[in-house]
Symmetry: C2
Subunit: 482 residues, 2 copies
């Protein structure tokens, strides 16, 4: 892709468009290590905003950060039978260190339940030590066969919450509380609508009792699992001997939860809001929320528009906005617009000689619509309103797109036609039989994304399984997925 050439249109090849949009915005780059990516400053700046927002939410719900080792003794993984079966095939293994072969190979963490609960066993003695609410920001390695920038990479960055509780009810409350945090973050910060629900046993986390997820529909009508929250039951507690003295003086195993979101969210942001020009950042996660572009033809005009522009960027920064002034010389305004649009900056303020005379700036929204003046007298309020409007519009547009790609009460024929055609969320009855789930996956490539929470279920519950016609035990949402 040459520097000033348009992107492949989404409608033509969504996957090519995605890669080009990520590259044009300089969010990430390929690396010489298979499946690993470099997160470039523009991409990492989004991740820092994601981290800050989520970290605040985790702390507000009583969690504290900690850090556990990157390496896990191979024998630890094996202590929980389902867990090792799920993760062993995709781990990277350190066999040599310090110039010698290791006695026991070390696995590079594919997730940290085992190494963390080994510590929990040392720290937890009594019910007074519970709940224990810990989170970790870390890098993770899973040897994936097919990788995509942000969406699926051999190494990725994430947070993993790990908690211990006195009983199942408290663990379940925590699992759902953090699912709620993820949903709120997705909706309020990413402007990305999600549906929530529980995974089927084939799709749950290896070692969990139950896995809940937030799922978002991308513009190509494939679903992105954007965050998961697991009630781990006592599975890991039993494997690692995490016991506590109960209030009644007995001895019991704790109940654990774990939950995580990753740099994959940035891929979700791109695929939810991007257009054929490039990425679009929702204002609350935009490293640059406002770019100011002065427009001049003569030196006199330059000096006048630059002076006003400098005042504008200063005022906006003082008001708490992330604002940049693009005063580069020898570059036409149009070329600047194109560059900042490709980076997804939600709001551009153009300041020409006529605007200086009128005491205003001209505001162009990345999301389109007519340009509109904002008077300098009410600058911060005007910019704030515009950004709030963009944040809201992005969410509304994404929800409308999702709803338009959602069908309810699907039959077998619907499911086949939908997945062979436009894709989307297909709601239908499900008999609960793994055989049906497998048959659907083989025939349509769609999987059960979730058995949706009540809020998302259809008003009339389906009576029969969309595939086999036997009685339905739960409504399911099928989609092809990333």
């Amino acid at each position: 892709m040459a520097e000033n050439q348009g992107l492949t249109p989404r409608a033509q090849d969504f996957s090519a468009w995605y890669n080009e949009a990520v590259m044009r915005a300089e969010l990430a780059d390929y690396s010489p290590v298979r499946g690993c990516m470099v997160i470039r400053p523009n991409g990492y700046a989004i991740w820092e905003l994601v981290q800050r927002a989520l970290d605040d939410m985790f702390k507000a719900t009583g969690h504290r950060n900690a850090y556990f080792p990157l390496f896990i003794p191979q024998s630890f993984l094996a202590k929980e039978a389902e867990h090792v079966e799920g993760f062993a095939p995709e781990v990277a293994v350190v066999t040599h260190a310090g110039g010698k072969a290791l006695d026991e190979p070390l696995v590079v963490r594919p997730t940290s339940e085992t190494i963390i609960y080994d510590s929990f066993a040392k720290w937890i003695h009594s019910y007074r030590d519970l709940p224990l609410l810990v989170n970790q920001w870390a890098n993770i390695v899973r040897w994936e066969m097919r990788t995509r920038l942000f969406l699926r990479t051999t190494e990725f960055l994430w947070q993993e919450g790990h908690t211990a509780h006195v009983d199942e009810a408290d663990a379940e409350r925590e699992t759902l509380r953090m699912l709620g945090v993820y949903r709120r973050f997705a909706e309020e910060w990413m402007a990305m609508p999600v549906i929530t629900g529980v995974k089927t046993s084939t799709e749950k986390f290896a070692g969990a009792l139950r896995t809940y997820a937030i799922e978002a529909l991308m513009q190509d009508n494939k679903s992105l699992q954007a965050g998961t929250s697991h009630n781990l039951g006592q599975n890991f507690a039993k494997a690692f001997g995490v016991q506590f003295q109960t209030a009644e003086g007995g001895l019991d195993y704790v109940w654990n939860t774990s939950w995580g979101v990753s740099t994959r969210l940035i891929g979700g942001l791109v695929m939810t809001h991007g257009d054929d020009v490039g990425i679009v950042c929702p204002p609350r996660l935009a490293p640059t929320q406002v770019v100011i572009v002065p427009i001049w033809k003569s030196d006199t005009e330059r000096s006048a528009t630059m002076q006003v522009s400098e005042g504008v960027v200063k005022e906006l920064r003082e008001a708490g906005f992330r604002a940049e002034l693009d005063g580069r010389e020898g570059m036409k305004p149009g070329a600047k617009y194109y560059e900042w649009e490709g980076r997804g900056v939600p709001l551009r303020l153009e300041i020409g000689p006529r605007d200086v005379a009128k005491g205003q700036v001209f505001a162009a929204r990345r999301t389109g619509g007519a340009k509109a003046p904002i008077p300098l007298a009410g600058l911060a309020a005007g910019v704030g309103a515009a950004l709030d409007g963009i944040q809201k519009d992005l969410f509304t547009a994404a929800r409308e797109r999702r709803d338009a790609s959602t069908r309810r009460g699907v039959t077998k024929a619907d499911l086949v036609a939908m997945m062979a055609g436009p894709g989307g969320f297909a709601y239908g009855g499900f008999c609960g039989d793994v055989a049906c789930e497998t048959a659907i996956k083989e025939a349509t490539k769609a999987t059960v994304r979730v058995l949706p929470d009540e809020e998302f279920r259809s008003p009339t519950p389906p009576a029969t399984c969309a595939w086999c016609g036997r009685p339905s035990v739960a409504e399911a949402v099928w989609a092809k997925a990333y």
Copy 2:
């Protein structure tokens, strides 16, 4: 160590004291992986404050964060001859992944020059792309033989800055600018005085042209290298082909710098300020700056002191202080004091019935001295002044201790006696000969910590080498080191 038993006194066994102080404060824990540690929430909270302060300083000096792969192809390390010689013996190597042997083993990053400059080669084309100023927060693995919590661990957390410049002068300015940032952080945030200077060729970073460092004297009179800043010259640029078109239209290799500090700083904080009761956090890096302990004997007293205490903690938090209220029942005030002292909380406010009546709190400084009342009417100002005072006192005390353990113009006999005895910083003339450096190390276990910057040099420069008597080419500071 039982829970309520005193620590081993520093004077008796500093090393045992250190481990006990870290454990009592619950900063870190040992892990099942050799040489790796678990950073517990109390320790990680300090690290988060360190990160926030440094990150703000990096951004204020124009740097942006990015993230590069954990794994480095083994062949990359070998591209810079000195570099591979320095790091190859201590790397951990991934030989298998995804169930198969890898074609080329991957090294877990012991530092990231090679993988980062490989990307720089793709990103840098012209002098207009320079300087490129990047920083990364990451985990690092070096297979160390003897490990100590925070001070030397197989895996540690750090930041590594990596920059590229048009010429040597600009790279040197950057190298010294970041050394200055580290010094300011050490002094103003950690209350840890440092000396700055350049390393000798035997002590410099493997692959650097010149290495600068900040060095701090711990309470056991051993030096801690607390941060390093390297002018890498064109060594890595040549190895990785990082070339740019100059303003004059020619082609040249960039000049790189790299600089880093790590979780080792937390060990430095403990060993600079701790006392026989436990750690002492300088207020600016204290996760809890103020703890409020209400004191009661009856229910009436409890209700009165708790009410005032709740108001106090609320007011202090609103004023921006990190304050905690310890209202636990069934626990004597003395036991609470002991616990918070062990965690290093700099200021404790006691609130008893008499204080309620007088409209005051009683303030006890972790650093000692008489307790003093602070009137509720001027609470935030009084607490602010007390914390500022503690921050200042810690720095002054540490500097006085260092100065008292510093000797200038040392002779060979002085050096031997000092290093066999009390330790400390020994300033003396140095002939510059590696043979002398080696002989001193073998005889005294002391190394040249730095050739100090002008500000730290002795008023009269030494004329002869402290060891061999030949002419001195530079003043050196010797010490035993961590």
